[in-house]
């Protein structure tokens, strides 16, 4: 997709603006939760270096979330309210991030499948017509290349490792893929509108981009991503995800509840 002309939020119809706001909030919330899930592994990762990488990746994700939340200013939204004052069921993050990763194999699946899907969505966003995305997202994607490299290296390691390592990785990928595919490539009016405005690619093209990127890694654990059916049960069109929500403790961390009295914005 090439974008000959660029647009800002004020150039869009009310419907397109609302759709774009959903997309940005969903990307920002996913980044915020992804950062929390990585931060859970600062300690307990397989090595000191891996823990440091998890720490660094969580900082990347929170930085990216900050930049994405800031884009909402153009939509008449106060980013401070969005970041610090919403209940869990208002979060539009990828469903797979609703609960902590239970083991290292799940972290690797999270990097490959979930962080991979978020990056694919951002690639599409950066190549579309929305001007702030074209200028701000490429640096995020450059940082994400290291996340993808880490995920790929660990995916290959576990896939070639013991039977249990491979099985755990496959089980986690199997668990995360259906809802992540639904989040990445929505089959609703908002996705159609964003595509017709040139802001995002059509959902089938975004899914194809994901399959081309992540498919070869998933083949290592015997998953044919092209045959995985997106799970759209309980689809919440207002948030662009399924009906669940992140756990309350993680949302309290995302909002910074413990430090609320110290909050300076």
């Amino acid at each position: 997709m090439s974008a000959a002309t660029t647009v800002k939020a004020a150039d869009l119809s009310t419907e397109a603006r609302q759709g774009l706001q959903r997309a940005i909030q969903s990307l920002a919330d996913s980044k915020r939760l992804m950062g929390i899930r990585y931060s859970d592994w600062l300690l307990g990762a397989p090595s000191i270096e891996t823990g440091i990488a998890a720490s660094s990746m969580s900082q990347d994700e929170w930085g990216h979330a900050r930049l994405l939340y800031a884009m909402l200013k153009d939509f008449g939204v106060d980013p401070a309210v969005v970041e610090h004052d919403r209940p869990a069921d208002a979060y539009a993050s990828v469903d797979a991030l609703d609960q902590p990763f239970p083991d290292w194999a799940a972290v690797v699946a999270g990097i490959v499948v979930v962080d991979g899907a978020i990056s694919v969505a951002l690639e599409s966003f950066a190549q579309g017509t929305f001007d702030p995305a074209r200028t701000r997202v490429p640096k995020m994607l450059a940082e994400e290349e290291f996340h993808a490299d880490l995920g790929a290296a660990w995916c290959r390691r576990l896939a070639q490792g013991s039977g249990e390592a491979r099985e755990r990785l496959k089980a986690a990928c199997d668990a995360y893929l259906p809802t992540t595919l639904a989040w990445l490539a929505p089959a609703d009016d908002v996705a159609g509108l964003l595509s017709s405005e040139g802001i995002m690619e059509p959902s089938p093209e975004i899914r194809a981009r994901f399959e081309a990127t992540v498919g070869p890694l998933l083949e290592l654990v015997g998953i044919d991503v092209g045959s995985v059916k997106a799970d759209r049960s309980g689809w919440d069109a207002a948030r662009g995800r399924g009906k669940g929500a992140p756990d309350d403790e993680s949302v309290a961390r995302a909002r910074g509840d413990l430090n609320r009295t110290l909050l300076v914005e």
Binding site: E49, T50, I52, S56, M57, L150, A152, A153, W154
Partner: protein
């Protein structure tokens, strides 16, 4: 899974000397690249590279860590 030691070298600006900035343990070259970038990211490096310590050949002394590693002695 056996980790090995990688030494990390970097230069701050184009034309600067490449200097040794640290080391790390990694399972393979691919992970060593990522760990180096993520571990030694306190500065904005112009160039960074990692070298498996076993690939470094000591030249002028036989009691340094790289010389010992080259002979297959664990540090």
């Amino acid at each position: 899974m056996n980790e090995q030691i990688y030494d990390v070298f970097a230069r701050k600006n184009r034309g600067d000397a490449l200097r040794h900035i640290g080391y790390l343990d990694a399972l393979d070259d691919e992970l060593a690249r990522v760990y180096a970038w993520k571990t030694y990211d306190e500065e904005k490096w112009f160039e960074m590279c990692v070298v498996p310590r076993r690939a470094i050949i000591g030249v002028n002394r036989d009691d340094g860590p790289w010389a010992r590693q080259a002979r297959g002695v664990q540090p």
